[in-house]
Subunit: 317 residues, 2 copies
């Protein structure tokens, strides 16, 4: 399971940073958080397959977070996509999508489901066998949501205990793992709860979108047991006034929320264009932090392996 | 005066080729022909300043030629642009622009003038002191126009003749050059036509947009005395059937029109994604051409100097 940073810039892109877009690659599926202009082509240099994107989560309706959608969908259509796609975003996303698909002619012949979120508190928007996704209202100049992905883990099977109870290796073990009771040859019935251990902790990642620092968001991540927070840090600490004025966060703000969340790793993104030539002030301000948390400044084409907890830059030729 | 190729791909972009967009840089001004997704960021790697774009010419309303417009305009606004911008395109461009500027929130506070072209023959759409631009209807699956840029040159001054007639070096020479008669100290009046030579030939460049080969377009370029034709060649000659079906051109088609036009240089662009790994079939088919014309396969970030007639790849760090 990997995070792939397709775009880590802010309102104005730079030579180094494309507009916001982050892919979460899980088994056979990609979740896309924001879709700034050119996300489709950024993907080509990574291991992200656009055809495997089933869900796109839009934090808010500013151009730098959405203008990659029409081109991405058009290229999916050219590639013969038939599978439907889900787009989640704040109120206004449906109207935005109508306009996005009306910019010129298009031949999109797969279903685009648009779900508008309208909630003043955390709300679960996806709940399937493999994972849950929550939207959490944050505060920006326009309605904006953070998103949290939480992997579901199945209970583990205590094989030794099962064997001791007389369950034979084979289909019966799978049944028990899947929560189905099993009848043994001697007539005894073994219930799953007799042989199941509590599941391992699943991976949990939060993404702030664009926002001022929201302590409640940190608390929510802590409740879920999140290990990784991707938080916007548009400005360095010396530009706190700019951050307040434009309703963004600084390095310090992001650290504060990550500390509340008690995550292991904080990844800073949505970096203002003004730092393109020199990001050293971020590095300095991060060094001043004395806690245990790992703090990473995202870069385009950065890959964060959520299992191995390693970070690398990977650009496919 | 230079052509800067920002995007040379076709419907689906590739790692090497962005969506269609070509900049023509003249003194203090940029003319942009098509504006595919990410044109704004492609520009950053070139000498094209988005703030110097006064006119955008849209060949047709397919996504790969227009989806860079909203992001480009938004970034211009962020950079404080106040100057108005002109957008030319086929009927439907006004509606397209309404949608393009309604994809999410935006704060564009300069005037965007949209001019729809609706003509069955060549029509002059710009005529100023420095240049003319013509739109020429071509044939694609949707209404589509080619564009032709033609530089205007002022008559040259025959300084020796002027001196022989008694005109002194100084403001009088400028007046004559500007077409204003001059009265000498001895009372004689020198008329401009007495000292002016015919102007040098201005630079003239045609851009086909997406189209099947149109002989009339070639003839029109010949009439104007065009030296350079940028023609789409989505397919190599072996895929003529695909070209017919999708209403595009092959290498051979483009050469045919360029031959009719009698241009010195033909630049092929809008290259299908299928040739991304291997363009050698284009090179082979170009070698089979026996004429005098230079034929160039465009690449992203290629710069063609229209005065020096030289070609290079230039990517700014």
């Amino acid at each position: 399971m990997k995070l792939i940073f397709l775009g880590t810039g802010a309102a104005v892109p730079t030579k180094k940073r494309a507009h916001a877009s982050i892919a979460l690659k899980i088994n056979g599926e990609v979740l896309l958080f924001d879709c700034g202009e050119n996300a489709q082509r950024q993907m080509m240099y990574t291991e992200v397959s656009p055809m495997k994107i089933k869900n796109i989560f839009i934090s808010h309706l500013h151009g730098d977070h959405i203008l990659g959608i029409p081109g991405l969908l058009q290229s999916m259509a050219f590639a013969g996509r038939k599978e439907e796609i889900n787009i989640y975003g704040p109120v206004g996303t449906k109207e935005m999508m109508i306009h996005a698909l009306s910019v010129g002619y298009h031949g999109i012949n797969f279903k685009v489901n648009v779900y508008e979120i309208n909630s003043k508190e955390a709300v679960k928007i996806i709940d399937n066998e493999k994972f849950e996704v929550y939207a959490f209202p944050v505060k920006h100049s326009v309605p904006s949501y953070a998103y949290v992905f939480k992997e579901k883990k199945k209970p583990r099977l205590d094989i030794n205990k099962a064997k001791a109870l007389g369950v034979k290796v084979g289909p019966d073990l799978k049944k028990l793992k899947d929560g189905i009771p099993v009848k043994l040859e001697d007539g005894r019935v073994i219930k799953p709860e007799e042989v199941l251990l509590p599941p391992k902790k699943g991976i949990c990642v939060g993404y702030s979108g664009d926002t001022v620092p929201i302590e409640e968001f940190g608390k929510f991540l802590k409740e879920l047991g999140c290990g990784v927070l991707i938080h916007e840090a548009t400005y360095d600490n010396t530009l706190k006034e700019n951050a307040i004025e434009t309703m963004h966060s600084t390095v310090e703000d992001a650290i504060k929320i990550a500390e509340i969340a008690k995550v292991e790793t904080l990844i800073l993104t949505h970096i203002s264009a003004r730092y393109d030539d020199d990001i050293s002030i971020y590095e300095k301000q991060i060094k001043e932090y004395n806690g245990d948390m790992d703090i990473i400044i995202a870069e385009d084409f950065m890959v964060y392996d959520l299992k191995k907890k390693t970070c690398s830059i990977s650009i496919l030729d």
